[in-house]
């Protein structure tokens, strides 16, 4: 392995990772700088159950009409994000636990998952380019983020066998992109996973307190009691 690749896989990654962590901390501080609003009416349901339901909806494709109507979109979403997890894991496995990628079935498994993510990414790009509404709301960041992810998945699929002795191009591309991502992500829409827990938590908290989520059929109703519980409205 060349010293360049070695440095790229180790020191460069760590520096970029530290940068990402720092920007995330600043980003979180930025979010917490804003005052928080809250529902002050007596609860009909549990805010925490609502928040749990809201956060868990990602694993409940039946819960949202928009997803129910587009099962293929959901499958793409699952592959795309599994690919993200696998590719990120690979950036740690290659420098710190390379033995794992000596097992052929593990390499194949990672390649299939990341390859499927690559295909999902391409389909998403096609959708973004061909759908009029999506085109009209898309900004350079939307296209660049997706294109970069597609390139990242492609490089990951090729780099995962981890054979620098057979040529370093794929590994350099993969770790080069990883380093770039670590710096770029906090400024791009890819950062959405940082906001996701907040948006879903806040929405779930409110709708949970109001008894909207989790959806319950067949409840009985009566006035909320002054102690904040829902008298006669077992959820």
């Amino acid at each position: 392995m060349s010293p360049f690749l070695k440095t790229l896989e180790n020191e460069v990654q760590l520096i970029c990772l530290a940068f990402l962590a720092l920007v995330y901390i600043l980003r979180l501080a930025w979010i917490f700088r804003f005052r928080s609003a809250r529902d002050r009416g007596l609860a009909e349901g549990s805010g925490f159950r609502g928040a749990g339901y809201s956060l868990g909806s990602v694993a409940m494709p039946w819960a949202m009409e928009s997803i129910r109507r587009r099962p293929f979109f959901y499958i793409q979403f699952v592959f795309f994000h599994l690919g993200v997890v696998a590719a990120i894991a690979a950036t740690f496995i290659i420098p710190y636990a390379p033995g794992l990628f000596e097992k052929r079935f593990i390499v194949r498994g990672f390649q299939i998952v990341i390859g499927a993510a690559f295909a999902s990414g391409v389909l998403r790009l096609v959708r973004r380019l061909s759908n009029r509404t999506l085109r009209s709301i898309s900004r350079p960041d939307d296209y660049a983020s997706l294109a970069l992810m597609i390139a990242f998945f492609l490089a990951g699929t090729l780099a995962i066998p981890n054979h620098p002795e057979k040529g370093e191009a794929a590994l350099i591309a993969f770790f080069g992109l990883t380093a770039f991502f670590l710096v770029y992500v906090p400024f791009s829409k890819i950062c959405h996973y940082l906001y996701y827990p907040f948006t879903r938590y806040f929405l779930g908290l409110t709708l949970g307190r109001r008894g909207v989520w989790p959806p319950a059929r067949g409840r009985r109703g009566s006035a909320s009691s002054a102690d904040g519980t829902a008298a006669g409205r077992p959820s």
Binding site: A37, E65, F77, K189, Y195, A226
Partner: protein
């Protein structure tokens, strides 16, 4: 010769700002305008500056993450009746509407937009024309139904962002005339239809006499400002002005159920234009009127008549606007009716409502209020032929008159075209009656039914319960 047709959204977006009613209010020295509670438009070239200052001041954590959390996946477009009715018009998509305020947030507050605005589509408004366009989008192309919010995989509260933008514009007087007029009435008279105390009391007395005559007893009453009752009843002013029958029906049922109740002399309006205009101060004022009335009269709970946005405002949002925790319990009258039916306090015969009935869930009650089952249980008891519409409950489509749109005549043509989605949904039920627990939805649905020539009539739950009563 080929002719290009502008997308329908442009017919709303290009509407000019009309401030004639604002000028009239100034001339008439309207109290709320004089004391600055209701803002009027100032053509001094400083509105963008004021808008940005307000944007920073009003921002909160929930809004900030909804502004930043959108990934532009476009799934919300499938949820909105506007974009479903105009699939070739990208500006109708909820995300496109929210992006009009999101881009300002990004340019003014979010660091990515400040560093590289073109990269993320961040842009400040340039002049009042830009703000007027924003006004037309957030008031004219959205009924605040929140269907997009519940269908966003990221949990982005698009409807919340739209209401936020409405609030900023209201504070600059860049609002549709209807919004200004109704806000003016609600600020100055305590109710959104400008009903005088005399008219209010006279109507209650008239309804009391009607019910007395019907039941043949003088023991039935519509008490006003009576202390220590089981509940305080608050209504929609539309009931006084256009549908006093519903007050009579309520009085009759309350009498039969045997609970003590009262209406307040002041603080009886459960509706709240603050929800529609985004004006939290108005929201606080109106909601607090009802809360204070309950406290003053030592009522054990507040019962809210059949009104969707009135329920959401009084039961939920009002406490936040008024900055106070809820102390007196409150509930929708439909929940009260359901309990009485369960307890056997009311005897009903479903055979008296033989026509096929379907139920329209009000957005503010189902998606933002948590009530979906009680009305169905009541209808199951009082109607012989109940049919669900599809989709229903939290997935139901808006009556298309929400968000204060019924007061904004300039947006009506596009609203009614967007209502094609609702019309198809209603028609598919084959029902002759569409029941809703919202006065606003009555008008919204009646408009849709008339416009699309459907063979249906809109009714309310109280009306059906009253018709089914076995005395």
């Amino acid at each position: 010769m080929s002719r290009t047709t502008a997308p329908r959204s442009r017919q709303v977006i290009d509407l000019p700002l009309d401030v004639r009613t604002q000028e009239k209010a100034i001339t008439e020295k309207a109290r709320c305008v004089e004391d600055g509670r209701l803002a009027t438009y100032r053509p001094d070239g400083r509105n963008v500056e004021r808008f940005l200052a307000l944007l920073s001041r009003r921002m909160n954590r929930q809004l900030a993450v909804s502004f930043t959390g959108c990934v532009h996946c476009g799934l919300c477009a499938d949820a909105c009746h506007y974009s479903l009715a105009f699939p070739d018009d990208p500006q109708m998509a909820p995300v496109a509407k929210a992006d009009r305020i999101r881009k300002i947030f990004k340019r003014h507050i979010d660091w990515t937009g400040r560093i590289a605005p073109w990269w993320v589509g961040a842009r400040r408004p340039v002049d009042d024309e830009d703000l007027n366009e924003l006004k037309n989008v957030v008031f004219g192309l959205c009924s605040g139904c929140r269907r997009c919010t519940l269908n966003c995989p990221m949990g982005v509260d698009t409807a919340g962002l739209i209401r936020f933008a409405r609030g900023l514009l209201t504070e600059l007087g860049i609002v549709p005339e209807g919004i200004f007029n109704v806000s003016r009435d609600q600020w100055d008279t305590g109710n959104q239809m400008g009903v005088s105390e005399e008219d209010y009391l006279e109507t209650l007395a008239w309804m009391r006499d009607e019910v007395r005559a019907e039941l043949g007893t003088d023991t039935v009453d519509i008490p006003v400002d009576k202390e220590g009752c089981d509940f305080l009843y608050v209504i929609n002013p539309r009931e006084i002005k256009f549908d006093p029958r519903s007050i009579g029906q309520a009085a009759k049922i309350f009498h039969l159920a045997g609970e003590s109740w009262t209406m307040p002399r002041w603080g009886w309006d459960n509706t709240n234009f603050g929800l529609f205009s985004g004006d939290d101060a108005l929201g606080a004022f109106v909601a607090a009127n009802a809360y204070d009335a309950a406290t003053r009269l030592k009522a054990k709970r507040i019962v809210i008549s059949e009104c969707g946005h009135g329920f959401r405002s009084t039961r939920w949002e009002g406490y936040g606007w008024a900055g106070r925790d809820q102390d007196v319990p409150s509930e929708s009258v439909v929940v009260t009716l359901f309990r009485w039916l369960e307890e056997g306090r009311l005897r009903v015969d479903p055979g008296r409502n033989p026509l096929p009935v379907t139920f329209h869930d009000s957005c503010n009650i189902a998606r933002s209020g948590g009530i979906t089952e009680e009305p169905r249980r009541v209808l199951a008891r009082v109607c012989a032929d109940f049919r669900e519409m599809t989709p229903n409950r939290t997935e139901n489509y808006c009556c298309t008159g929400g968000g204060g749109l019924l007061s904004m005549a300039e947006y009506r043509p596009v609203r009614l075209e967007a209502a094609a989605v609702k019309a198809r949904q209603l028609e598919a039920t084959g029902a002759k009656l569409v029941c809703t627990m919202c006065h606003n939805c009555i008008d919204g649905l009646t408009d849709v039914i008339k416009h699309y020539g459907l063979d249906m009539k809109v009714v309310q739950i109280l009306e059906l319960v009253d018709a089914a009563l076995v005395l």
